[in-house]
Symmetry: C2
Subunit: 73 residues, 2 copies
DNA sequence: AAGATAATTGTGGTTTAGGTCAACCGATTA
DNA sequence: TAATCGGTTGACCTAAACCACAATTATCTT
């Protein structure tokens, strides 16, 4: 399992935005059309996600993909 | 081989920034510590790159990773 | 045209993301 | 206590990212 600081920080940002939208991991994952298990691993920085997966997530969250790389709103 | 529009556009942005810095693919690739072949495929949108690879590229280009997702400067 | 440099493409091997299912762990609620 | 809900983790498989090397194809420069 990976444990890169950058991935962890990105996971935190995703989680933060998800909470802001009042979504559960289950809801977000299904909006992205994958399993809650994957969502959990992404949010905890265990996975070096690909661009298209991030794109799905940003779409489901209603934010621009670049926001996933920038702290705060 | 993938041919996603989003990946193609991102590749174009990377290429544009590389040219702006007067770097060849060879130079950029070696700064990222991978092969020029990979650089070529990324710039032409053939690969669904991972976050950490994009991070290497943005570091080598001296830009913030979020800029790789935003048109123009 | 010849030569050099830059970029693309093919192939093959290794690693890992993505996907799925099941089991498990709080915390909350009935 | 038992049941539910959100989240985490383990195990497994498949597809694809990553990496490297070589060969080919532009694109220049003289």
């Amino acid at each position: 399992m990976r444990k890169d600081k950058f991935l962890i920080e990105m996971g935190k940002r995703i989680r933060k935005k998800r909470i802001e939208k009042n979504m559960s991991q289950i809801e977000l994952a299904s909006a992205c059309e994958f399993e809650k298990a994957s969502m959990s691993r992404i949010e905890s920085g265990q996975i070096n996600t690909t661009v298209l997966t991030l794109l799905k997530i940003s779409n489901a969250l209603g934010v621009h993909i670049s926001e996933l790389f920038i702290d705060q709103k």
